[in-house]
């Protein structure tokens, strides 16, 4: 079996030791079952079960100690089957040595996505704040209507209440906004390399338009308060703001070669060019 397998010396060349068959575990299991079955039949059954259980335990003990009982099995004359080489692997076009790749080979660093998410999130928050000011509802209005749908006391809130500062709403809203921005940013960092021809167009325009279109019919269910008060024009502007900011930040980061298809020794710089 070639070099990847080696002989082991247990049991000599012609015979191999395997554990000896024994009925004691069976006896013990049967005893345990009878012990229980006695509860639904008759006490004597339990008694018999207990006797078998103890007998099984003692018998088992004596099989294992002082030395595990085993039997020697002769090795079958045919031995182990040989494994023949097969036709070689098809190599893809990417590169001769990338046929074991984790794809894609080039990625943006993970930090790019996170930075993009932060940038997008900030731009979006600013756009929303500007909208709040322009619509005369105040800077807190957008974040208040964002979270209003998610907790009950706010469900019937008036415009005045929704324009006032609310610490909990700010905290909760920032959390939702932050988490979502970071997640979408990460997604940008991961997926934009695959649309590498026009990352800013894809991330800045196409993606925000797509998710806005998804949100348009569903927002009434997800967040009825927001749905009632939303200004779709401004909403779109803020989403595209997010997309552009995140897209630009991500695509400005340098792409790094993952080197993951190379042997470990090469990746850590120990050796170069050792190929099978």
């Amino acid at each position: 079996m070639e070099a990847t397998e080696r002989t082991e010396a247990t049991g000599g060349p012609e015979e191999i030791e395997v554990p000896a068959p024994t009925a004691w575990p069976l006896t013990m299991a049967f005893g345990a079952t009878l012990l229980g079955a006695g509860l639904v039949t008759a006490g004597e059954v339990s008694l018999l079960g207990a006797v078998l259980l103890v007998a099984g335990a003692v018998g088992w003990f004596r099989v294992v100690l002082p030395v595990e009982r085993s039997v020697r099995i002769p090795i079958e004359p045919e031995g182990q089957p040989r494994i023949e080489p097969r036709p070689p692997t098809t190599h893809p076009r990417i590169a001769e040595r990338e046929h074991r790749a984790r794809l894609p080979v080039e990625i943006f660093p993970v930090s790019a996505g996170i930075k993009g998410g932060i940038a997008g999130g900030v731009v979006m928050a600013l756009t929303a704040a500007i909208y709040g000011v322009i619509s005369h509802h105040g800077v807190w209005y957008p974040i208040n209507i964002l979270v209003a749908g998610f907790y009950r006391p706010e469900l019937r809130a008036t415009t005045e209440e929704l324009s006032a500062f609310d610490g909990w709403a700010l905290l909760f809203g920032t959390l939702i906004h932050g988490v979502t921005s970071l997640l979408v940013g990460t997604l940008y960092g991961m997926l934009l390399p695959m649309f590498s021809r026009r990352p800013v167009l894809a991330g800045g325009l196409v993606a925000p338009l797509a998710w806005s279109a998804l949100l348009y019919p569903t927002i009434g269910m997800i967040n009825p308060v927001l749905a009632r008060r939303i200004d779709w024009g401004w909403f779109l502007v803020s989403q595209i703001g997010f997309g552009l900011a995140a897209g630009v930040v991500v695509s400005r980061s340098l792409r790094i070669h993952t080197r993951q298809s190379e042997p470990f020794a090469e990746r850590i710089g120990l050796e170069t060019g050792r190929r099978p």
Binding site: T90, A101, R102, T180, V184, M194, M221
Partner: protein
């Protein structure tokens, strides 16, 4: 599915309609996921199936992709986030509602295998058929149910009015309904509770406000008029009072005040017998008294071994309990 009287999507009550809106939303989201992922599976199988012209060489071995793995982790996380927020909101809008002052209170007590219904504010005791007023969305008069159990766990489920809530011994549960359209809505026990779990049916009559008042008035009346001039009825009442019937059943104005079985004071105001096991009529009453197990095998009411004449008299008496 227009002919399905217990369709959860044909909601006519606030909790059920909020639920069905959420359900449709979740269905839409999961449906979209299904088409995308299943579509990908089909594309993979069709596009990458082995052709007859295959050269027998192994395809390129790709180990994975951190980008894809991250992407298909992040997208589900976002979906979960949306679903969680939406669902939490709907949970609040159903479970977080405080009882308005003008709500009707009903205590529902589950028994093997029938429903005891008590209206503490109105002094009404009935069984298996719940009567409630319609609730105008602008001025809601919801019905507040307190759910108890006398024996094992049951579950109160009238799909068009609300989702189910269990009735569990040694525990007090609450739920509410606010039906917006008059009618009869069917449901049944939804938690396995023993032999006759299947025939523990439930009907809810939703009345316009004034009709409900009339019904409540009729149920509230003290003793039923027992027309004593009819010999058969008098005899039937004697059969009722001198047999074990009174150990389990109550009829106001008689010595019967048992609570193990349904209250029979206004028996004839109900449409069904034995928690919906049969329609209520003189014939079914007779058959039921003669052999309850013939109609509902396993029912706890024993056959009282009455003579045919006694059964006739008893039925005559019961028929007067309007």
């Amino acid at each position: 599915m227009g002919d399905a009287p217990a369709n959860i999507f044909a909601a006519v009550s606030a909790p059920a309609s909020r639920t069905s809106e959420l359900s449709l939303f979740v269905l839409a989201v999961t449906g979209a996921i299904f088409f995308v992922v299943f579509g990908l599976t089909i594309v993979a199988v069709v596009r990458f199936r082995r052709r007859d012209t295959d050269d027998g060489r192994e395809p390129p071995q790709v180990y994975g992709s951190n980008q894809l793995e991250t992407a298909w982790t992040v997208v589900p996380v976002l979906i979960v986030l949306v679903l969680a927020l939406t669902t939490a909101r709907v949970i609040q809008s159903i479970q977080g509602v405080t009882r308005p002052a003008n709500a009707i209170d009903v205590i529902v007590i589950g028994h093997q295998w029938w429903w005891e219904l008590r209206y503490p504010g109105l002094g009404i005791v009935t069984a298996n058929e719940l009567h409630v007023p319609v609730s105008d969305p602008l001025a809601p008069t919801p019905t507040w149910l307190t759910l108890l159990s006398a024996d094992v766990a049951h579950s109160f489920w009238v799909p068009r009015l609300a989702g189910k809530t269990d009735l569990i011994p040694n525990r007090v549960n609450h739920m509410w309904i606010a039906p917006t359209a008059p009618g009869v809505y069917v449901g049944q026990c939804a938690e396995y509770c023993g032999t006759q779990h299947a025939k523990m049916l439930l009907r809810v009559y939703v009345h316009p406000r004034d009709e409900f008042e009339r019904w409540a008035q009729a149920q509230r009346q003290g003793d039923p008029q027992v027309p004593s001039e009819l010999d058969a009825v008098v005899a039937g009442r004697r059969v009722f009072e001198s047999n074990a019937c009174i150990n389990c059943h109550s009829v106001a104005g008689t010595v019967g005040n048992g609570r193990y079985g349904p209250d029979l004071t206004h028996l004839m105001s109900r449409a069904t017998l034995a928690a919906g096991a049969a329609p209520l009529s003189p014939e079914t009453l007779r058959a039921w008294i003669r052999d309850p197990n013939g109609i509902k095998p396993g029912a706890h009411m024993p056959a009282m071994k009455l003579t045919e004449q006694q059964i006739d008299q008893l039925v005559q008496f019961l028929l007067t309990l309007h």
